[in-house]
């Protein structure tokens, strides 16, 4: 994380802060988090203290932890925004509070050529994730970002107001641009028979008392996807410079629509959970996501993503890869259709699946076989699912 949006203080101006207290809330990449104070002192908010919604960068001075009788410590402090004075030993005197939560490099790495191009094309590279070695921003990253910017139609005659980009919005944009432009995405579409799936869901509903969570269609699909990935580890893999990384875990991310934007919390080890455990987890995660309470760790290390727009009446769509993952499954709505069953036209529940995968990692045929296995499991749900 290099930048975040300041949300609120958890201590009042002048209040005593002990080491280990949570001091303020910061909205970072996709998640809000409470930032801990490593030092003790009395919180003094300077005149230029950031307001909720302000962007703050790592290393920026937000406020002071001062001695009780030091009411205006900024009077003899370096300029706001300056790097904290490292000559003052930590713990000796209360120092400026910074948004730094972990040791990070002092700056992003960007090639000279990319830097020049960013200036020429007026691209803000602060939030670009570089694709070069060690995350270095390269020319192609700037061009991709510029292409994104041009879609905003510069020089328009339209009037309106510009909504500032939140950290979540920027993170989504970056993920989508990388997933679209810096992978080799291919999408396979398949219509599957969901009649048995509908029956299964009905069965879960009936068997359920009020205290239990009823597994949703999405829960069942996540569980079946996790199972199918065991036999298709390539779809669970990641592209890295040194080679294709195949994780031993299967962590399924699922898309949640929230007021601040799209979030994708992760169900860890989804292949080892019962359907009930999984349903409990997804429910809790979705609630946290909508409430803006997801921790960064709850969105980390997904190995595959399921995105379901069926509830919004969508038949099918092309999902975008969630890098560095290999693939994402797009799920449409279930609807009754007349289909040929041998010589007979019968009414069946049907469902569209769209699998987007990174062709750098896996080829079309193995991806199709994965989809085929998954379809088989949906059309004839395995018995273990209900035990």
């Amino acid at each position: 994380m290099e930048e975040g949006t300041f949300q609120e203080w958890l201590k009042a101006d002048g209040e005593r802060v002990e080491a280990g207290d949570m001091l303020f809330v910061l909205e970072g990449d996709k998640a809000s988090q409470e930032v801990e104070s490593f030092d003790a002192g009395y919180l003094r908010l300077p005149p230029d203290v950031p307001q909720p919604g302000d962007a703050v960068v790592v290393g920026q001075r937000l406020a002071f932890l001062a001695d009780e009788d030091d009411l205006e410590p900024w009077k003899d402090s370096p300029q706001p925004g300056a790097v904290p004075d490292r000559k003052t030993p930590l713990g000796q005197a209360p120092g400026p509070v910074t948004a730094q939560t972990k040791p990070v490099r002092s700056g992003k790495s960007i090639s000279p050529r990319a830097l020049r191009l960013a200036t020429e094309l007026d691209v803000d590279w602060d939030n670009i994730e570089g694709t070069g070695r060690g995350g270095r921003i390269r020319e192609q990253d700037i061009r991709a970002a510029a292409a994104l910017g041009q879609a905003e139609a510069p020089g328009t005659s339209l009037t309106g107001k510009t909504e500032p980009l939140s950290a979540t919005r920027k993170a989504i944009a970056r993920q989508m641009v990388i997933g679209t432009n810096l992978t080799a995405p291919v999408t396979l579409h398949r219509e599957v028979d969901a009649t048995a799936l509908v029956a299964l869901r009905r069965q879960f509903k009936q068997a359920c008392d009020d205290k239990k969570t009823v597994p949703t269609y999405n829960d069942i699909l996540i569980r079946l996807v996790a199972e199918a990935l065991k036999s298709h580890p390539r779809l669970n893999s990641q592209w890295r410079e040194e080679g294709i990384f195949v994780p031993e875990q299967i962590h399924i991310a699922f898309a949640v629509d929230t007021p601040t934007g799209l979030l994708a919390p992760v169900v860890s080890d989804a292949d080892r959970l019962s359907i009930d455990q999984l349903a409990d987890q997804t429910k809790a995660l979705a609630q946290q996501a909508r409430a803006g309470q997801l921790e960064a760790g709850q969105m980390r290390d997904g190995t595959f993503t399921v995105s379901n727009l069926g509830g919004l009446g969508v038949d099918s769509f092309t999902p975008v890869i969630n890098p560095p993952q290999c693939a994402v499954l797009g799920v449409g709505r279930i609807r009754k259709k007349v289909v040929w069953h041998g010589e007979q036209a019968v009414g069946r529940d049907r469902l569209n699946l769209s699998l987007t995968f990174d062709h750098r990692i896996v080829d079309g045929a193995p991806a199709a076989r994965f989809l085929d296995d998954l379809a088989g499991q949906i059309e004839q749900p395995p018995e273990w699912l209900t035990h």
Partner: protein, 333 residues
């Protein structure tokens, strides 16, 4: 100087091309003489003077005692007094016995005499790793001599270039170190029968490309072209530049190419430290900093004496495969 002609369709070898140029120039300029061990009746260890002794005799094709310092010093004095010596070292490793004469005398004479003396001397020899020539017959000292002001350093990679550059060397007033790679001696390409000059300090774009620039010398040009061809099959477009002369260096062509591609690899069989590749890397970092989309990469021979065994020999110099790997790494930066 007129532009060099089209190669035409007559093939000859690298050695054959320089011999043609030498024979032509000796006929038109009686001040030219050749000195070296075994370059008289024998015609040179690599056939560099084959047939010339019969035509011009012992004074113009002068076999020498084994005293490199001596006959280079003599060549210096001869060049100061109206003749145009060609010193044929056979293996270029022998030149180092004459290092002081070259650095302190040959290279500085025009300066010391305020340009009133010219120094038309051609120093030639075989460079490079190959044929199990081992550590005293596999050297490549282009970088060392390019460090010295006052010497032209030429490393052709094709028979066509070798002939044109050799003609030019025998018509210019400066000392020229002409380095011929052992593994190129017998290579063939189309070469015009007429005399023509290729000026120093004019690089050749051996292959055009857009994704990365590779600057390579002598034999390395051929290995690089093979690697580039392979990468082309994968959609990577590699530009290959053969500077042909290290001193003077056509830096503009290199910089122009880097401005296009943003990526640069320099391949040189010789040692890395303080070398040709380091010099280009430094100048690109200096003059082309904003063009760079990746760190400049160098690929050099191992910083070690050259071994004898063919397996070990291959291990210490860049080949098409190591060049390919280096380009791939560069593209990922």
């Amino acid at each position: 100087m007129p532009d060099p002609p089209e190669p035409g369709d007559r093939e000859t070898t690298f050695v054959g091309a320089t011999l043609e140029a030498l024979a032509f120039e000796m006929k038109r300029n009686p001040a030219i003489f050749v000195m070296g061990e075994g370059i008289g009746q024998r015609g040179g260890n690599f056939g560099t003077t084959l047939g010339l002794y019969e035509e011009h005799g012992a004074t113009r094709l002068c076999d020498t005692p084994i005293c490199e310092r001596g006959f280079v010093g003599l060549g210096c004095g001869a060049a100061m007094t109206g003749s145009r010596p060609v010193i044929d070292f056979m293996f270029i490793d022998f030149i180092n016995d004459a290092f002081g004469e070259i650095v302190n005398q040959v290279a500085k004479m025009q300066y010391m005499s305020s340009g009133r003396l010219k120094m038309p001397i051609l120093l030639r020899g075989c460079i490079g790793v190959g044929h199990s020539a081992a550590t005293h017959h596999s050297g490549n000292y282009a970088s060392i001599y390019s460090h010295i002001p006052g010497i032209r350093v030429v490393l052709p990679s094709t028979p066509y270039d070798a002939k044109g550059l050799f003609h030019h060397a025998l018509r210019c007033d400066d000392p020229v170190l002409f380095l011929e790679h052992r593994e190129l001696m017998a290579t063939r390409s189309c070469v015009p029968e007429t005399d023509y000059e290729i000026p120093f300090g004019q690089a050749r774009v051996a292959r055009e490309g857009t994704d990365a620039t590779v600057v390579a010398l002598s034999l390395m040009v051929h290995h690089t072209l093979a690697a580039a061809e392979k990468l082309a099959g994968e959609g990577q477009s590699i530009e290959v530049i053969d500077p042909r002369t290290v001193s003077p260096l056509d830096f503009d062509t290199i910089l122009g190419s880097v401005a296009k591609t943003g990526r640069l690899l320099v391949v040189d069989e010789a040692f890395g430290p303080c070398g040709f590749a380091s010099e280009i890397a430094a100048r690109v970092a200096d003059e082309g900093f904003d063009e760079l989309d990746a760190p400049v990469r160098r690929l050099n021979g191992a910083h070690a004496p050259v071994p004898y065994s063919p397996t070990l020999e291959q291990a210490v110099v860049p080949g098409a495969d190591t060049i390919e790997a280096a380009i791939r790494a560069l593209l990922e930066e």
